[in-house]
Amino acid sequence: MQKFKETLLTSLKAVRAFFENYYVRRVLSALLTIILIATVTFLMMHAIPGGPFSRERALPEEIIEALNRKYHLDDPLWKQYLDYMVGLFTFNLGPSFKRTGFDVEELIAMGFPATAKIGLMAITLIVVIGIPIGIISALRQNRPADYFVMFIATLGVTIPSFVVASVFIYVFAGLLNWVDAFGLNRPSSYIGPTLALVGYSLAFVSRLTRSSMLEVLRQDYIRTARANGLSRFKVIYKHALKNALIPVVTYIGPMIAAILTGSFVVEKVFTIPGIGKYFVQSVSDRDYTMIIGTTVFYAVLYVVMVLLVDVAYSLIDPRIRLGKKSE
C-alpha cells in the first residue's frame, strides 16, 4: 500500500513537471488557441442571419432544404460542430459552397505554393537586406546615409502595400513594360509582389535593428571590448550584433502576420492564384466553408510559426524558458 502511494506520488510529480515544462505549456496553449479560433469562426459563420443560401431573390423552399441536406446543415449544431472539428484534424474541410466540385482543402493546396513562394522570398529579403541596412544606419548615425535610410524606412512603414503594388504595376508594367502586370509566369514577375509585400516589414526591421544597435553600442561592455584592443569589426559583429538582434527576433511573429495579411492585397492586385486571392474572393462571394477554411488555415499557420519562433527564441535566450510564466 505504502509503495503504491509512493509510486502514485512520483508519477503525479512527473506529470506535473511535464506540464510545467516550458515547451509543453507552449505547445498546449497553441493547440488551445487553434481550437478556440476554429470554434469562434464556426459559431460566427453559423450566426449569420438567414443562412448561407439567402439571396436577394429568395430560392424555393425545397431547393434550400436540398442544399441544407447536401451540406449537412440540417444536422443539429453540436453534430455539425463535431464533424467540423474532426474534419479539421483530418485535413478535411468540406466542399466549397461556391466553387462546386472543389473541396476547401484542395483549393488551399492549390493556392499555397504561390503564396508560400512569395512569402518566403519576402522573409529572405527582409533578413538579408533589412538587418544590414539597420546596422549600417546605426554605425553611420546622423550622417547622410543614416538620414536617407531612415527617410525611406519611414515612407515604407506608412505607404500601404496596395499603393506600392499599383505604382509598381503602372511604372514597370505599364510605362516601361519590363515585367508582366499579372500572374507569376516569369521569374521577373516575382519582383513586384515581393516588393509590395516586404515594404512595411523591411522598413520596420531596419528601423528596429538600427535603434537596438544604437542602444547596445552605448553599453559599457562594448567600450571595454574596444579598450581591450579588439577590432571595431570584431566588436560589432561578435559582441554587439548578438544582443542587438534579440528585439528583432521578437518582431518575427508580427512580421509573419503582416506578410500573411499583406498577401490578400498583393495577390489581388497582381492576380496571383494564391490563398490570399482565394480568401478575398471567398469573402466577396460569401463562400462560407471557404472563409472558415482559409481563416483557420491562416490562424494555424500563424500560431505554428509563432510557436516555432518562440521555441527558437527560448533556445537563444534561456531567461525565457527558465523565467516565470509571464511578466
Binding site: 488557441t33 478556440l36 479560433i37 469562426t41 460566427m44 459563420m45 450566426a47 449569420i48 519611414t154 515612407l155 512603414v157 506608412t158 505607404i159 500601404p160 496596395f162 499603393v163 499599383s166 505604382v167 504595376i169 503602372y170 508594367a173 505599364g174 502586370a181 502576420a257 500573411l260 495579411t261 490578400f264 492585397v265 489581388k268 492586385v269 478575398v280 469573402v283 466577396s284 460569401r286 472563409i291 481563416t295 491562416y298 490562424a299 500563424y302 500560431v303 509563432v306
Partner: protein, 399 residues
C-alpha cells in the same frame, strides 16, 4: 598683510535689486514640458502641420467644390488632368477625351457639352461627330499606318475641310481640377469626402478603442490576482492571431457594411493593445504613495482609477491613440480595397483606390490621388505620434 577687500568696497543696495530670490527657471507642467520638446522636434512638428492640413482638407474642402460626392456628369467621364484644346473655328474649341468622346469646350478648357457621334468607321479609323448639322471627323489613321507614324501624333480633327493636327493649347482640366472618374464624378471632391470618411472612421474608432481599452485595462490592473490573470489570458487569446482576420470575419458576418459597422468592428477588435498598455501602467502606478494616501483617505477605487491613475498614464495612452489613427486608416482602406468597406455611393479612400484599380494602366491618376492622400495621412499621423512618444519619454528628458 593686506586685506583683499576694504569695507568701503561694499555698499548697501535697494531690496528691489536683490537677485538671490529670483528663480533661474520657471517650472513647467507636464504638458507644457511636452509641448516645449515637441516644438523642438522638426519631424513631429511637420507631422502636426500635416495632420492639420489633412483635417482642413477633409472637413472644409468639400465646402469649396461645386460638386457633390455622388454628382455624376457621365458625358464628362474619365477626363484626365490635362486637356488638349483644338480651335477648329472662330470661338469653337473642342477636346477629345481618352474615351474618344468629343466635347465642346471654352477657350480655357472648361467643358461645355458633348457632341453626338454620328458614325463609327472602325475599318478606316475615322469617327464622325455632329456639330449643329455640320460634320466633325476625328482621324485616327496616324497610329494605324507606318508612313504616317513620323508625324508623331495620335489623331487629327477635321472640320469644314481643314485638318487640325496640333492642339491650340494644352491646359489643366478646368472643370475637374484632378480629373473625373468613370461616371464623371469629380475626383477632388470624392477624395475630400473619402478623406473625411477615413478620418471619421479612424478618429471614432480610436475613441472607442480608448474607452474599451482603458476601462478593461484599468479594471484588470486594479483588480490584480486571479481576475487580472483571467482577463489578460482572454486578451492573449484574442491577440494570438492577426487582428485583421477578426475584422474581416466580423465584416463578412454583418453584411451591411456602413460607416457604423466598420467603426464598431475596429473598436471591438483593436482595444486589446490599449488594454494591455493601460493595465501595465496601472500595475506600476497603483503602488505609488499617492495612491496609498488616497486609499487611506477612503477614496473609492473607481475614483482612484479615474482621478489618479488614468491622468498619470495619459502620456502613453495619448501616444497609443495617435498611433491608432493611422492603423485604423490603413485597416479601413484595406477593407474597402478588398471589397468589404464602405458601400456605394459613399466612398472612403480605400474604395476610391479599389474602384480605380481596374483601369490603372489607362487612368493611373484615379488611383494615385486617393493613394497619395492615404499615404500622406498615415505619414502625418505617424510622424506626429513618433514625436509625441519621444517628447513624453522620460528617458529622453533633459534637466
Amino acid at each position: 598683510m593686506t586685506m583683499p577687500f576694504q569695507p568701503n568696497d561694499f555698499q548697501f543696495i535697494d531690496p528691489s535689486q536683490r537677485v538671490d530670490n529670483e528663480q533661474v527657471r520657471t517650472s513647467l507642467t507636464y504638458w507644457q514640458d511636452t509641448w516645449r520638446r515637441l516644438k523642438k522636434n522638426k519631424m513631429a512638428l511637420s507631422g502636426l502641420i500635416g495632420v492639420f492640413l489633412i483635417v482642413l482638407f477633409a472637413v472644409f474642402g468639400p465646402l469649396f467644390t461645386p460638386y457633390g460626392y455622388e454628382e455624376q456628369q457621365t458625358d464628362f467621364a474619365n477626363t484626365p488632368l490635362h486637356v488638349e484644346v483644338f480651335e477648329i473655328a472662330d470661338d469653337l474649341y473642342v477636346y477629345l477625351t481618352p474615351q474618344y468622346r468629343l466635347l465642346v469646350v471654352e477657350e480655357d478648357g472648361t467643358f461645355l457639352y458633348r457632341l453626338d457621334q454620328t458614325s463609327l468607321d472602325f475599318a478606316n479609323k475615322q469617327f464622325h461627330f455632329d456639330y449643329h448639322g455640320e460634320d466633325i471627323m476625328v482621324d485616327y489613321t496616324y497610329k494605324l499606318y507606318e508612313d504616317l507614324a513620323d508625324e508623331g501624333i495620335d489623331y487629327s480633327i477635321n472640320f469644314r475641310g481643314v485638318e487640325y493636327k496640333t492642339p491650340y493649347d494644352v491646359t489643366s482640366n478646368k472643370t475637374f481640377v484632378l480629373g473625373s472618374d468613370n461616371v464623371g464624378r469629380d475626383i477632388l471632391t470624392r477624395t475630400m469626402y473619402g478623406a473625411r470618411i477615413s478620418l471619421t472612421v479612424a478618429v471614432i474608432a480610436a475613441i472607442l478603442v480608448l474607452l474599451i481599452g482603458v476601462t478593461y485595462g484599468a479594471v484588470a490592473g486594479m483588480a490584480g490576482g486571479r481576475v487580472d490573470e483571467l482577463m489578460m489570458r482572454f486578451v492573449d487569446i484574442i491577440d494570438s492571431i492577426p487582428l485583421l482576420l477578426y475584422v474581416i470575419l466580423i465584416m463578412v458576418l454583418v453584411e451591411n457594411t456602413g460607416l457604423n459597422t466598420i467603426i464598431l468592428t475596429l473598436g471591438l477588435v483593436y482595444w486589446v493593445g490599449m488594454a494591455r498598455l493601460v493595465r501595465g501602467q496601472v500595475l506600476s502606478l497603483k503602488e505609488q504613495e499617492y495612491v496609498l494616501a488616497a486609499r487611506m483617505l477612503g477614496v473609492p477605487q473607481p475614483l482612484i482609477i479615474w482621478r489618479h491613475l488614468i491622468p498619470n498614464a495619459m502620456g502613453p495612452i495619448l501616444v497609443a491613440m495617435t498611433m491608432m489613427i493611422p492603423t485604423a486608416v490603413f485597416t479601413e482602406s484595406f477593407l474597402s480595397f478588398i471589397g468589404l468597406g464602405i458601400s456605394a455611393p459613399q466612398a472612403s479612400l480605400g474604395t476610391l483606390a479599389n474602384d480605380a484599380l481596374d483601369a490603372i494602366l489607362t487612368y493611373p491618376f484615379q488611383l494615385f490621388i486617393p493613394s497619395i492622400t492615404i499615404a500622406f495621412m498615415m505619414l502625418a499621423f505617424n510622424f506626429f505620434g513618433d514625436g509625441l512618444r519621444s517628447a513624453l519619454d522620460p528617458r529622453l528628458r533633459k534637466g
